[in-house]
Amino acid sequence: MNWHLTPAEIRAYAFHTADDVTAMSVEAHLMHCPPCRGLLPADEDWIERSWSELRDVVDRPRAHPVERLLRALGLGDAAVKLLAATPQLYRAWLLSTVLVLACALGAAHALPSGSLVFYFTAPILPLAGVALAYGRGVDPAHTLTSVTPMAGQRLLFVRTCAVLVPAVILCTLAALLMPAPTTPWSAVFWLLPALTLVAGSLVLSQWAHLSLSSGAVGLLWLLCLTALSGAEHLTPLAMVAPHAQPWWAVALAALVGALLIRSRMRTS
């Protein structure tokens, strides 16, 4: 650029006293001359105000991918935040689930009747997650969340779902990696018992603390399996055999029905 605007031209332009042709000339020059642009008077107060408004929008945290996915699925804002925040509480559990499943898989492949280990543990793992998802002892924000309108059964159900989905996915993956399932379906036979156990502990949580009721249900399951392996004509695999599935389905339906009736009575 071989010429620059005179201070008079800049002042006339900035204070809107320049005539059309001068203004056009100044603008054409400004587009190509950053130094002259810098000479324009700046209203510091206005810039400060304008930036503080911008900063409010710009500094808003970006939504986590999980949050965006859930929002795309049509969930409300509150539920999305809650679901996205819950994994922070049970990451340790998720990690231990992976470890336990890996051990069970290892045992199934290495030991002669090792697949029993998997059938012992797979239904318990989602239950343990549910037990750890909510409650005084596990949630550091429990005293805060317990006084929110969402607290109680609703929060419990939402968190249970948040725990169940990853647990079921992990267990299904592990089941598919089991050595030689007789049919593809036999890999998911543990699913109904697992859901029934979770529903049972949720029903029990009406009277006892959730961790306690989950512990009781889990213990019951293990006792049944031990008793069965001690019995002469039965094996623990009878609990997850195809002909046992209808019974599990009936039990699950009954427990879910009980839960629904109870929450309906709560709200009415």
Binding site: M24, A28, P34, L40, L54
Partner: protein, 195 residues
């Protein structure tokens, strides 16, 4: 747990004296401080220039706000030519289009907002820009002075602001056909005066 935390993209280092492309690269990497430097550097002249197109300061400030939000969201799409140190022209195209969309919002508040469609520009802007750079100092100055204000406004919108005919019609609030004829007439006058 550190294991799960997303590692932040490393932003290029920048300072108040960095060039516009460097700052925009930092903005694209999520640095709001870089946006603040750009804001401070470019709002004064953008605001002064927009004020010649719109006397309503509320709309003007809203348009500027939207401009920098658009920069924040789309900084990654800025592609400087090699050796380019100034993003003024890029910022101006965003700002003038934001102003037009503000004006349209005000005008058709009851009509559904339609997205602006690409439309042909009138004439070769860059060649005329070069001539305009020397308006005051060249023979074009006198020729421009002799133009009527309507013709000057049409030339200003299409050549100087780089708007499409449709956008120019919106900002001048005249039909598109009128913009075309005015630009044609203005160019004929200028050619006549210069030869």
């Amino acid at each position: 747990m550190k294991l799960f935390r997303r590692s932040r993209r490393r932003a290029p280092s920048f300072g108040p004296d960095s060039s516009d492309p460097e700052l925009l690269a930092a903005v694209a990497a999520g640095e709001s401080d870089a946006l603040e430097i750009l804001h401070r550097r470019h709002t004064p002249w953008l605001r002064a220039r927009l004020r010649y197109r719109c006397s309503d300061t509320d709309q003007l400030d809203a348009a500027l706000q939207e401009t920098f939000l658009a920069v924040w969201r789309n900084a990654g799409s800025y592609a400087p030519r090699p050796g380019d140190t100034d993003a003024g022209a890029w910022l101006w195209t965003i700002a003038i289009r934001q102003l037009i969309s503000q004006l349209r919002k005000r005008a058709n508040r009851w009509i559904a907002d339609v997205d602006p469609e690409p439309y042909e520009t009138v004439g070769d802007a860059s060649a005329e820009d070069l001539v305009l750079l020397n308006i005051e100092h060249g023979p074009l100055g006198a020729a421009m002075h002799s133009l009527s204000p309507e013709l000057r406004a049409a030339i200003q919108a299409t050549v100087l602001d780089g708007l499409t005919v449709r956008e120019a019609a919106q900002i001048l609030q005249i039909p598109e056909g009128t913009v075309k004829t005015r630009v044609m007439r203005a160019k004929a006058r200028l050619r006549e005066a210069l030869t």
